[in-house]
Symmetry: C2
Subunit: 246 residues, 2 copies
DNA sequence: CGCGATATTGACCTGAGTCAATATACGTGG
DNA sequence: CCACGTATATTGACTCAGGTCAATATCGCG
Protein backbone atom coordinates (compact mmCIF):
# COMPACT_ATOMS: atom_id res chain seq x y z
CA UNK A 1 0.00 0.00 0.00
CA UNK A 2 1.61 3.29 -1.03
CA UNK A 3 2.08 5.59 1.90
CA UNK A 4 1.89 9.18 1.06
CA UNK A 5 0.22 11.05 -1.74
CA UNK A 6 2.30 10.54 -4.85
CA UNK A 7 0.81 13.67 -6.40
CA UNK A 8 3.14 16.41 -7.49
CA UNK A 9 2.50 19.27 -5.10
CA UNK A 10 4.94 21.82 -6.43
CA UNK A 11 2.64 24.54 -7.46
CA UNK A 12 3.37 27.93 -8.82
CA UNK A 13 2.48 30.44 -6.15
CA UNK A 14 -0.42 32.69 -6.98
CA UNK A 15 1.84 35.72 -7.23
CA UNK A 16 3.92 33.88 -9.77
CA UNK A 17 1.44 34.49 -12.55
CA UNK A 18 4.42 36.39 -13.90
CA UNK A 19 4.80 38.15 -17.20
CA UNK A 20 7.02 35.32 -18.39
CA UNK A 21 4.38 32.69 -17.68
CA UNK A 22 1.68 34.86 -19.23
CA UNK A 23 3.47 35.28 -22.50
CA UNK A 24 4.45 31.63 -22.55
CA UNK A 25 0.84 30.54 -21.96
CA UNK A 26 -0.70 33.01 -24.38
CA UNK A 27 1.72 32.19 -27.16
CA UNK A 28 1.16 28.46 -26.69
CA UNK A 29 -2.64 28.53 -26.50
CA UNK A 30 -4.04 26.14 -29.11
CA UNK A 31 -6.47 28.75 -30.36
CA UNK A 32 -3.81 31.46 -30.73
CA UNK A 33 -1.67 29.33 -33.01
CA UNK A 34 -1.36 31.25 -36.24
CA UNK A 35 -1.01 34.61 -34.53
CA UNK A 36 2.39 36.29 -34.73
CA UNK A 37 4.46 37.16 -31.68
CA UNK A 38 3.62 40.81 -32.22
CA UNK A 39 -0.08 40.04 -32.30
CA UNK A 40 0.24 38.07 -29.05
CA UNK A 41 2.12 40.98 -27.48
CA UNK A 42 -0.69 43.29 -28.53
CA UNK A 43 -3.33 41.02 -27.04
CA UNK A 44 -1.38 40.35 -23.84
CA UNK A 45 -2.38 43.52 -21.95
CA UNK A 46 -6.07 42.66 -22.38
CA UNK A 47 -5.62 39.70 -20.05
CA UNK A 48 -5.45 39.92 -16.30
CA UNK A 49 -3.98 37.15 -14.17
CA UNK A 50 -5.01 35.88 -10.80
CA UNK A 51 -4.17 33.00 -8.46
CA UNK A 52 -6.74 30.83 -6.70
CA UNK A 53 -6.30 28.57 -3.68
CA UNK A 54 -7.25 24.92 -3.83
CA UNK A 55 -11.02 24.67 -3.59
CA UNK A 56 -11.60 28.34 -4.26
CA UNK A 57 -14.53 29.43 -6.42
CA UNK A 58 -13.55 31.11 -9.69
CA UNK A 59 -17.11 31.90 -10.70
CA UNK A 60 -20.56 30.60 -9.81
CA UNK A 61 -23.33 29.15 -11.95
CA UNK A 62 -26.00 31.72 -12.90
CA UNK A 63 -23.81 34.69 -12.07
CA UNK A 64 -23.51 37.33 -14.83
CA UNK A 65 -21.09 35.92 -17.39
CA UNK A 66 -18.63 38.56 -18.50
CA UNK A 67 -15.18 37.00 -18.75
CA UNK A 68 -13.35 34.28 -20.61
CA UNK A 69 -10.74 32.41 -18.57
CA UNK A 70 -7.67 30.43 -19.51
CA UNK A 71 -5.95 27.98 -17.16
CA UNK A 72 -2.28 28.94 -16.88
CA UNK A 73 -1.42 26.43 -14.17
CA UNK A 74 -3.34 23.94 -12.02
CA UNK A 75 -6.61 22.10 -12.51
CA UNK A 76 -10.06 23.67 -12.79
CA UNK A 77 -13.28 21.72 -12.39
CA UNK A 78 -16.60 22.76 -13.93
CA UNK A 79 -19.72 21.70 -12.06
CA UNK A 80 -23.46 22.08 -11.95
CA UNK A 81 -25.75 21.53 -8.99
CA UNK A 82 -28.90 19.40 -9.31
CA UNK A 83 -32.09 20.64 -7.62
CA UNK A 84 -31.50 18.07 -4.89
CA UNK A 85 -28.08 19.60 -4.29
CA UNK A 86 -25.92 16.86 -5.75
CA UNK A 87 -22.88 18.12 -7.63
CA UNK A 88 -22.45 17.04 -11.26
CA UNK A 89 -18.91 17.47 -12.58
CA UNK A 90 -18.96 18.41 -16.25
CA UNK A 91 -15.30 18.80 -17.07
CA UNK A 92 -11.75 18.97 -15.76
CA UNK A 93 -9.44 21.53 -17.35
CA UNK A 94 -5.68 21.84 -17.38
CA UNK A 95 -3.17 24.44 -18.51
CA UNK A 96 -4.00 25.91 -21.91
CA UNK A 97 -7.74 25.23 -21.79
CA UNK A 98 -10.38 27.96 -21.68
CA UNK A 99 -13.66 28.26 -19.82
CA UNK A 100 -16.22 30.91 -18.93
CA UNK A 101 -17.99 33.23 -21.31
CA UNK A 102 -17.42 33.53 -25.04
CA UNK A 103 -20.06 36.23 -25.38
CA UNK A 104 -20.65 39.78 -24.33
CA UNK A 105 -24.39 39.77 -23.96
CA UNK A 106 -25.18 41.66 -20.78
CA UNK A 107 -27.87 39.15 -19.73
CA UNK A 108 -25.76 36.00 -20.13
CA UNK A 109 -25.08 33.83 -17.11
CA UNK A 110 -22.46 31.21 -16.48
CA UNK A 111 -24.09 27.84 -17.01
CA UNK A 112 -21.74 26.11 -14.57
CA UNK A 113 -19.50 26.86 -11.60
CA UNK A 114 -15.71 26.83 -11.84
CA UNK A 115 -13.52 25.83 -8.91
CA UNK A 116 -9.77 25.53 -8.49
CA UNK A 117 -9.14 21.84 -7.83
CA UNK A 118 -5.62 22.67 -6.62
CA UNK A 119 -3.73 25.98 -6.58
CA UNK A 120 -4.52 27.59 -9.91
CA UNK A 121 -3.24 30.48 -11.93
CA UNK A 122 -5.74 31.73 -14.51
CA UNK A 123 -5.75 34.52 -17.05
CA UNK A 124 -8.96 36.20 -18.07
CA UNK A 125 -10.24 38.64 -20.62
CA UNK A 126 -13.49 40.51 -20.97
CA UNK A 127 -15.92 38.71 -23.31
CA UNK A 128 -16.42 41.62 -25.68
CA UNK A 129 -12.70 42.16 -26.09
CA UNK A 130 -12.23 38.49 -26.91
CA UNK A 131 -14.93 38.70 -29.56
CA UNK A 132 -13.03 41.58 -31.12
CA UNK A 133 -10.05 39.25 -31.45
CA UNK A 134 -12.27 36.59 -33.00
CA UNK A 135 -13.69 39.07 -35.46
CA UNK A 136 -10.26 40.18 -36.58
CA UNK A 137 -8.73 36.69 -36.77
CA UNK A 138 -11.05 34.13 -38.28
CA UNK A 139 -8.49 31.37 -37.71
CA UNK A 140 -8.86 31.92 -33.94
CA UNK A 141 -12.65 31.66 -34.20
CA UNK A 142 -12.29 28.48 -36.24
CA UNK A 143 -9.98 26.97 -33.62
CA UNK A 144 -12.42 27.79 -30.85
CA UNK A 145 -15.22 26.31 -32.94
CA UNK A 146 -13.17 23.11 -33.33
CA UNK A 147 -12.56 22.91 -29.59
CA UNK A 148 -16.25 23.40 -28.85
CA UNK A 149 -17.06 20.69 -31.39
CA UNK A 150 -14.68 18.34 -29.59
CA UNK A 151 -16.18 19.21 -26.21
CA UNK A 152 -19.69 18.61 -27.50
CA UNK A 153 -18.57 15.22 -28.78
CA UNK A 154 -17.15 14.36 -25.37
CA UNK A 155 -20.26 15.51 -23.58
CA UNK A 156 -22.40 13.38 -25.90
CA UNK A 157 -20.15 10.40 -25.25
CA UNK A 158 -20.76 10.99 -21.55
CA UNK A 159 -24.52 11.01 -22.13
CA UNK A 160 -24.16 7.69 -23.88
CA UNK A 161 -22.06 6.15 -21.09
CA UNK A 162 -24.34 7.37 -18.30
CA UNK A 163 -27.41 6.29 -20.25
CA UNK A 164 -26.32 2.78 -21.07
CA UNK A 165 -23.14 1.55 -19.37
CA UNK A 166 -23.01 -0.31 -16.02
CA UNK A 167 -21.14 1.29 -13.15
CA UNK A 168 -17.77 -0.45 -13.57
CA UNK A 169 -17.59 0.59 -17.22
CA UNK A 170 -18.49 4.17 -16.39
CA UNK A 171 -15.77 4.39 -13.75
CA UNK A 172 -13.18 2.74 -15.99
CA UNK A 173 -14.15 5.14 -18.76
CA UNK A 174 -13.59 8.32 -16.75
CA UNK A 175 -10.38 7.00 -15.20
CA UNK A 176 -9.01 6.32 -18.68
CA UNK A 177 -10.09 9.73 -19.93
CA UNK A 178 -8.45 11.47 -16.97
CA UNK A 179 -5.30 9.39 -17.38
CA UNK A 180 -5.11 10.32 -21.06
CA UNK A 181 -5.33 13.97 -20.15
CA UNK A 182 -3.34 14.11 -16.91
CA UNK A 183 -1.48 10.80 -16.73
CA UNK A 184 2.14 10.81 -15.61
CA UNK A 185 4.26 7.68 -15.64
CA UNK A 186 5.85 6.90 -12.26
CA UNK A 187 7.01 3.82 -10.36
CA UNK A 188 3.42 2.85 -9.47
CA UNK A 189 1.89 3.16 -12.92
CA UNK A 190 0.13 5.93 -14.79
CA UNK A 191 -0.69 8.46 -12.13
CA UNK A 192 -3.58 10.89 -12.67
CA UNK A 193 -1.95 14.19 -11.74
CA UNK A 194 -4.76 15.88 -9.81
CA UNK A 195 -6.42 15.56 -6.42
CA UNK A 196 -9.22 13.12 -7.15
CA UNK A 197 -11.48 11.86 -4.38
CA UNK A 198 -14.13 9.14 -4.51
CA UNK A 199 -16.67 11.92 -4.38
CA UNK A 200 -15.11 13.59 -7.43
CA UNK A 201 -15.34 10.35 -9.37
CA UNK A 202 -18.92 9.89 -8.20
CA UNK A 203 -19.79 13.38 -9.47
CA UNK A 204 -18.15 12.61 -12.80
CA UNK A 205 -20.02 9.33 -13.32
CA UNK A 206 -23.48 10.02 -11.89
CA UNK A 207 -22.88 7.55 -9.04
CA UNK A 208 -22.59 7.63 -5.24
CA UNK A 209 -19.31 7.62 -3.32
CA UNK A 210 -20.16 4.21 -1.86
CA UNK A 211 -20.61 2.63 -5.27
CA UNK A 212 -17.40 4.21 -6.53
CA UNK A 213 -15.58 2.91 -3.48
CA UNK A 214 -16.86 -0.63 -3.98
CA UNK A 215 -15.96 -0.75 -7.65
CA UNK A 216 -12.54 0.78 -7.18
CA UNK A 217 -11.74 -1.57 -4.32
CA UNK A 218 -12.45 -4.41 -6.73
CA UNK A 219 -10.29 -2.79 -9.44
CA UNK A 220 -7.48 -2.55 -6.89
CA UNK A 221 -7.92 -6.16 -5.75
CA UNK A 222 -7.69 -7.19 -9.38
CA UNK A 223 -4.48 -5.20 -9.67
CA UNK A 224 -5.84 -2.91 -12.36
CA UNK A 225 -5.28 0.31 -10.41
CA UNK A 226 -3.52 1.62 -7.32
CA UNK A 227 -5.28 4.24 -5.32
CA UNK A 228 -5.21 6.17 -2.06
CA UNK A 229 -6.68 9.33 -0.61
CA UNK A 230 -7.29 11.74 -3.46
CA UNK A 231 -5.17 9.93 -6.00
CA UNK A 232 -5.51 7.15 -8.56
CA UNK A 233 -2.88 5.45 -10.71
CA UNK A 234 -3.67 3.06 -13.52
CA UNK A 235 -1.61 -0.12 -13.48
CA UNK A 236 -3.22 -2.26 -16.17
CA UNK A 237 -4.58 0.14 -18.74
CA UNK A 238 -5.45 -2.71 -21.09
CA UNK A 239 -7.80 -4.36 -18.61
CA UNK A 240 -9.76 -1.14 -18.17
CA UNK A 241 -9.88 -0.60 -21.92
CA UNK A 242 -11.24 -4.12 -22.42
CA UNK A 243 -13.91 -3.47 -19.83
CA UNK A 244 -15.03 -0.21 -21.43
CA UNK A 245 -15.22 -1.49 -24.98
CA UNK A 246 -16.74 -4.90 -24.42
CA UNK B 1 -59.49 10.29 -27.02
CA UNK B 2 -58.30 11.90 -30.28
CA UNK B 3 -58.67 9.52 -33.17
CA UNK B 4 -56.21 10.18 -35.88
CA UNK B 5 -52.70 11.54 -35.84
CA UNK B 6 -52.96 15.28 -35.48
CA UNK B 7 -49.49 15.71 -36.98
CA UNK B 8 -49.11 17.84 -40.03
CA UNK B 9 -48.22 15.46 -42.81
CA UNK B 10 -47.88 17.85 -45.69
CA UNK B 11 -44.29 17.40 -46.63
CA UNK B 12 -42.33 18.86 -49.42
CA UNK B 13 -41.59 16.09 -51.86
CA UNK B 14 -37.93 15.13 -52.14
CA UNK B 15 -37.74 16.48 -55.67
CA UNK B 16 -39.01 19.80 -54.40
CA UNK B 17 -35.67 20.76 -52.93
CA UNK B 18 -36.08 23.50 -55.50
CA UNK B 19 -33.82 26.42 -56.21
CA UNK B 20 -36.34 28.69 -54.53
CA UNK B 21 -36.27 26.69 -51.31
CA UNK B 22 -32.48 26.48 -51.43
CA UNK B 23 -31.98 30.19 -51.66
CA UNK B 24 -34.63 30.82 -49.05
CA UNK B 25 -32.99 28.37 -46.64
CA UNK B 26 -29.44 29.51 -47.29
CA UNK B 27 -30.26 33.18 -46.91
CA UNK B 28 -32.14 32.53 -43.68
CA UNK B 29 -29.55 30.30 -42.02
CA UNK B 30 -28.67 31.77 -38.63
CA UNK B 31 -24.95 31.44 -39.33
CA UNK B 32 -25.15 33.15 -42.73
CA UNK B 33 -26.75 36.27 -41.26
CA UNK B 34 -24.41 39.10 -42.11
CA UNK B 35 -23.62 37.81 -45.58
CA UNK B 36 -24.95 39.78 -48.51
CA UNK B 37 -27.36 38.34 -51.06
CA UNK B 38 -24.53 38.28 -53.58
CA UNK B 39 -22.33 36.33 -51.20
CA UNK B 40 -25.14 33.82 -50.62
CA UNK B 41 -25.59 33.49 -54.39
CA UNK B 42 -21.90 32.78 -54.71
CA UNK B 43 -22.00 30.13 -51.99
CA UNK B 44 -25.21 28.54 -53.26
CA UNK B 45 -23.64 26.36 -56.00
CA UNK B 46 -21.36 24.70 -53.44
CA UNK B 47 -24.39 23.07 -51.83
CA UNK B 48 -26.15 20.03 -53.18
CA UNK B 49 -29.67 19.09 -52.14
CA UNK B 50 -31.22 15.73 -51.58
CA UNK B 51 -34.48 14.29 -50.25
CA UNK B 52 -34.71 11.46 -47.73
CA UNK B 53 -37.66 9.22 -46.91
CA UNK B 54 -38.93 8.89 -43.37
CA UNK B 55 -36.57 6.61 -41.46
CA UNK B 56 -33.83 6.81 -44.08
CA UNK B 57 -30.20 6.98 -43.00
CA UNK B 58 -28.43 10.22 -43.92
CA UNK B 59 -25.04 9.10 -42.63
CA UNK B 60 -23.77 6.50 -40.17
CA UNK B 61 -21.63 6.81 -37.05
CA UNK B 62 -17.94 6.07 -37.69
CA UNK B 63 -18.22 6.53 -41.45
CA UNK B 64 -15.69 8.96 -42.99
CA UNK B 65 -16.95 12.46 -42.20
CA UNK B 66 -16.71 14.67 -45.24
CA UNK B 67 -19.83 16.79 -45.47
CA UNK B 68 -21.73 19.39 -43.53
CA UNK B 69 -25.52 19.16 -43.77
CA UNK B 70 -28.29 21.66 -43.28
CA UNK B 71 -31.91 20.71 -42.70
CA UNK B 72 -34.06 22.45 -45.30
CA UNK B 73 -37.33 20.70 -44.40
CA UNK B 74 -38.36 17.92 -42.03
CA UNK B 75 -36.86 16.56 -38.81
CA UNK B 76 -33.46 14.88 -38.45
CA UNK B 77 -32.50 12.83 -35.42
CA UNK B 78 -28.91 12.28 -34.30
CA UNK B 79 -28.19 9.03 -32.49
CA UNK B 80 -25.43 6.86 -31.10
CA UNK B 81 -25.53 3.16 -30.41
CA UNK B 82 -24.37 1.75 -27.06
CA UNK B 83 -22.27 -1.44 -27.09
CA UNK B 84 -25.35 -3.36 -26.02
CA UNK B 85 -27.16 -2.00 -29.06
CA UNK B 86 -29.49 0.45 -27.37
CA UNK B 87 -30.03 3.66 -29.29
CA UNK B 88 -29.23 6.94 -27.55
CA UNK B 89 -30.82 9.99 -29.18
CA UNK B 90 -28.57 13.01 -28.88
CA UNK B 91 -30.51 15.68 -30.69
CA UNK B 92 -33.48 16.52 -32.86
CA UNK B 93 -32.94 19.07 -35.63
CA UNK B 94 -35.37 21.16 -37.63
CA UNK B 95 -35.16 23.41 -40.64
CA UNK B 96 -32.20 25.78 -40.52
CA UNK B 97 -30.02 23.64 -38.24
CA UNK B 98 -26.76 22.06 -39.32
CA UNK B 99 -25.18 18.70 -38.56
CA UNK B 100 -22.37 16.49 -39.85
CA UNK B 101 -18.74 17.47 -40.27
CA UNK B 102 -17.23 20.90 -39.73
CA UNK B 103 -13.74 19.67 -40.65
CA UNK B 104 -11.92 18.41 -43.68
CA UNK B 105 -9.46 16.05 -42.01
CA UNK B 106 -9.39 12.92 -44.14
CA UNK B 107 -9.39 10.62 -41.08
CA UNK B 108 -12.39 12.17 -39.31
CA UNK B 109 -15.46 10.06 -38.67
CA UNK B 110 -19.01 11.03 -37.89
CA UNK B 111 -19.47 10.64 -34.16
CA UNK B 112 -23.18 9.93 -34.51
CA UNK B 113 -25.72 8.66 -37.04
CA UNK B 114 -28.26 10.93 -38.70
CA UNK B 115 -31.69 9.69 -39.74
CA UNK B 116 -34.65 11.39 -41.36
CA UNK B 117 -37.43 11.27 -38.76
CA UNK B 118 -39.98 12.17 -41.43
CA UNK B 119 -39.51 13.11 -45.11
CA UNK B 120 -36.52 15.43 -45.13
CA UNK B 121 -34.87 17.76 -47.58
CA UNK B 122 -31.25 18.52 -46.71
CA UNK B 123 -28.53 20.60 -48.29
CA UNK B 124 -24.91 19.64 -47.90
CA UNK B 125 -21.49 21.04 -48.62
CA UNK B 126 -18.03 19.50 -48.56
CA UNK B 127 -16.25 20.17 -45.25
CA UNK B 128 -13.19 21.82 -46.78
CA UNK B 129 -15.29 24.18 -48.84
CA UNK B 130 -17.24 25.19 -45.77
CA UNK B 131 -14.02 25.92 -43.92
CA UNK B 132 -13.03 28.22 -46.77
CA UNK B 133 -16.22 30.17 -46.14
CA UNK B 134 -15.42 30.31 -42.41
CA UNK B 135 -11.92 31.54 -43.12
CA UNK B 136 -13.16 34.33 -45.35
CA UNK B 137 -16.03 35.39 -43.07
CA UNK B 138 -15.13 35.44 -39.41
CA UNK B 139 -18.68 36.42 -38.46
CA UNK B 140 -19.89 33.07 -39.83
CA UNK B 141 -17.27 31.20 -37.76
CA UNK B 142 -18.32 33.17 -34.69
CA UNK B 143 -21.98 32.28 -35.27
CA UNK B 144 -21.13 28.60 -35.60
CA UNK B 145 -19.03 28.86 -32.45
CA UNK B 146 -22.00 30.37 -30.62
CA UNK B 147 -24.30 27.58 -31.82
CA UNK B 148 -21.81 24.92 -30.71
CA UNK B 149 -21.56 26.66 -27.33
CA UNK B 150 -25.32 26.51 -27.00
CA UNK B 151 -25.40 22.84 -27.99
CA UNK B 152 -22.69 22.01 -25.47
CA UNK B 153 -24.72 23.75 -22.79
CA UNK B 154 -27.78 21.70 -23.73
CA UNK B 155 -25.81 18.46 -23.73
CA UNK B 156 -24.42 19.28 -20.30
CA UNK B 157 -27.92 20.03 -19.06
CA UNK B 158 -28.90 16.59 -20.33
CA UNK B 159 -26.01 15.03 -18.40
CA UNK B 160 -27.27 16.74 -15.28
CA UNK B 161 -30.87 15.59 -15.79
CA UNK B 162 -29.93 11.99 -16.55
CA UNK B 163 -27.49 11.96 -13.65
CA UNK B 164 -29.77 13.31 -11.00
CA UNK B 165 -33.45 13.65 -11.94
CA UNK B 166 -36.10 10.94 -11.40
CA UNK B 167 -37.86 9.54 -14.43
CA UNK B 168 -40.94 11.73 -14.44
CA UNK B 169 -38.81 14.89 -14.34
CA UNK B 170 -36.64 13.63 -17.17
CA UNK B 171 -39.63 12.92 -19.36
CA UNK B 172 -41.28 16.23 -18.53
CA UNK B 173 -37.99 17.97 -19.31
CA UNK B 174 -37.60 16.55 -22.81
CA UNK B 175 -41.26 17.04 -23.65
CA UNK B 176 -40.96 20.70 -22.72
CA UNK B 177 -37.76 21.09 -24.70
CA UNK B 178 -39.32 19.49 -27.78
CA UNK B 179 -42.45 21.59 -27.38
CA UNK B 180 -40.36 24.76 -27.19
CA UNK B 181 -38.64 23.82 -30.41
CA UNK B 182 -41.45 22.19 -32.38
CA UNK B 183 -44.62 23.10 -30.53
CA UNK B 184 -47.65 24.15 -32.53
CA UNK B 185 -50.84 25.42 -30.89
CA UNK B 186 -53.93 23.47 -31.95
CA UNK B 187 -57.32 22.58 -30.46
CA UNK B 188 -55.77 19.88 -28.22
CA UNK B 189 -52.93 21.92 -26.78
CA UNK B 190 -49.32 22.48 -27.75
CA UNK B 191 -48.60 19.74 -30.26
CA UNK B 192 -45.02 18.57 -30.80
CA UNK B 193 -44.78 18.63 -34.59
CA UNK B 194 -42.81 15.46 -35.24
CA UNK B 195 -43.43 11.71 -35.19
CA UNK B 196 -42.49 10.82 -31.62
CA UNK B 197 -42.91 7.29 -30.31
CA UNK B 198 -42.48 5.99 -26.77
CA UNK B 199 -39.25 4.46 -27.95
CA UNK B 200 -38.00 7.83 -29.20
CA UNK B 201 -38.72 9.40 -25.82
CA UNK B 202 -37.03 6.46 -24.11
CA UNK B 203 -33.92 6.97 -26.25
CA UNK B 204 -33.92 10.69 -25.42
CA UNK B 205 -34.18 10.14 -21.66
CA UNK B 206 -32.08 7.03 -21.02
CA UNK B 207 -35.17 5.03 -20.08
CA UNK B 208 -37.11 2.04 -21.40
CA UNK B 209 -40.29 2.21 -23.46
CA UNK B 210 -42.24 0.56 -20.63
CA UNK B 211 -41.20 3.20 -18.11
CA UNK B 212 -41.99 5.99 -20.56
CA UNK B 213 -45.38 4.45 -21.20
CA UNK B 214 -46.18 4.21 -17.49
CA UNK B 215 -45.15 7.79 -16.74
CA UNK B 216 -46.91 9.25 -19.76
CA UNK B 217 -50.10 7.32 -18.98
CA UNK B 218 -50.02 9.00 -15.60
CA UNK B 219 -49.37 12.43 -17.17
CA UNK B 220 -52.37 11.84 -19.40
CA UNK B 221 -54.60 10.69 -16.51
CA UNK B 222 -53.62 13.88 -14.69
CA UNK B 223 -54.62 15.84 -17.79
CA UNK B 224 -51.15 17.31 -18.29
CA UNK B 225 -50.70 15.94 -21.81
CA UNK B 226 -52.67 14.31 -24.60
CA UNK B 227 -50.94 11.62 -26.57
CA UNK B 228 -51.45 8.90 -29.15
CA UNK B 229 -49.37 6.83 -31.53
CA UNK B 230 -46.31 8.83 -32.44
CA UNK B 231 -47.57 12.14 -31.16
CA UNK B 232 -47.67 14.14 -27.96
CA UNK B 233 -49.39 17.40 -27.14
CA UNK B 234 -48.86 19.38 -23.96
CA UNK B 235 -52.05 20.52 -22.27
CA UNK B 236 -50.85 21.91 -18.94
CA UNK B 237 -47.39 23.29 -19.59
CA UNK B 238 -47.25 24.83 -16.12
CA UNK B 239 -47.69 21.49 -14.36
CA UNK B 240 -44.78 20.00 -16.27
CA UNK B 241 -42.63 23.06 -15.58
CA UNK B 242 -43.38 22.79 -11.87
CA UNK B 243 -42.39 19.16 -11.91
CA UNK B 244 -39.08 19.84 -13.65
CA UNK B 245 -37.99 22.71 -11.46
CA UNK B 246 -39.07 21.42 -8.06
C1' DC C 1 -1.06 12.91 18.89
C1' DG C 2 -5.65 13.52 18.00
C1' DC C 3 -9.26 15.17 15.15
C1' DG C 4 -11.85 15.81 10.93
C1' DA C 5 -12.17 14.55 6.29
C1' DT C 6 -12.03 10.64 3.43
C1' DA C 7 -12.77 5.93 2.43
C1' DT C 8 -14.57 1.20 3.23
C1' DT C 9 -17.85 -2.26 4.07
C1' DG C 10 -22.26 -4.38 5.28
C1' DA C 11 -27.36 -4.87 5.45
C1' DC C 12 -31.26 -3.53 3.53
C1' DC C 13 -34.41 -1.07 0.27
C1' DT C 14 -36.36 0.66 -3.85
C1' DG C 15 -36.88 2.65 -8.52
C1' DA C 16 -36.58 1.26 -12.77
C1' DG C 17 -35.52 -2.70 -15.80
C1' DT C 18 -37.03 -7.18 -17.61
C1' DC C 19 -40.11 -10.41 -19.24
C1' DA C 20 -44.51 -11.49 -20.72
C1' DA C 21 -49.30 -11.00 -21.98
C1' DT C 22 -52.67 -8.08 -24.01
C1' DA C 23 -54.60 -4.20 -26.37
C1' DT C 24 -55.04 -0.82 -29.90
C1' DA C 25 -53.98 2.01 -33.89
C1' DC C 26 -52.74 2.27 -38.59
C1' DG C 27 -51.39 0.92 -43.17
C1' DT C 28 -52.17 -2.47 -46.75
C1' DG C 29 -54.34 -5.05 -49.92
C1' DG C 30 -58.36 -7.63 -51.25
C1' DC D 1 -64.36 0.26 -47.60
C1' DC D 2 -63.48 -3.24 -44.58
C1' DA D 3 -60.52 -6.97 -42.58
C1' DC D 4 -56.41 -8.27 -41.45
C1' DG D 5 -51.64 -8.05 -39.89
C1' DT D 6 -47.92 -5.56 -37.93
C1' DA D 7 -45.94 -2.00 -35.33
C1' DT D 8 -46.86 0.53 -31.30
C1' DA D 9 -48.43 1.03 -26.74
C1' DT D 10 -50.15 -0.54 -22.19
C1' DT D 11 -50.13 -3.06 -18.01
C1' DG D 12 -48.76 -6.46 -14.57
C1' DA D 13 -45.56 -9.47 -11.94
C1' DC D 14 -41.13 -10.10 -10.74
C1' DT D 15 -36.05 -9.05 -10.41
C1' DC D 16 -31.97 -6.67 -9.47
C1' DA D 17 -28.37 -2.99 -9.84
C1' DG D 18 -27.27 0.54 -7.44
C1' DG D 19 -28.83 3.73 -3.73
C1' DT D 20 -29.48 4.54 1.22
C1' DC D 21 -28.37 4.27 5.82
C1' DA D 22 -25.20 3.14 9.26
C1' DA D 23 -21.06 1.59 11.46
C1' DT D 24 -16.16 1.42 11.25
C1' DA D 25 -11.59 2.31 9.55
C1' DT D 26 -7.79 5.13 8.08
C1' DC D 27 -5.22 8.89 6.42
C1' DG D 28 -2.87 13.13 6.93
C1' DC D 29 -3.06 17.69 8.66
C1' DG D 30 -2.53 20.99 12.42
Amino acid sequence: MPRNTPLDQDHIEPHMCSMDLRLYILSHLPFFQGLSTEQIMEINPLFVDRGYDAGELIYAESNPATRLFVVADGIVKLTQLSQSGKEVMLDVLKSGEFFGSLTHEPKDQYSESAHAQNPVCALSIEGGQFRQILKMHSQVAIRIMDIMTERLKESQEMVRMISTAPVDQRIAFVLLKLADKLGEKNEVGLLIQMPLSREDIANLTALTTETVSRVMSQFQKDGWIKTGRQWVAIVQRERLMDLVSI
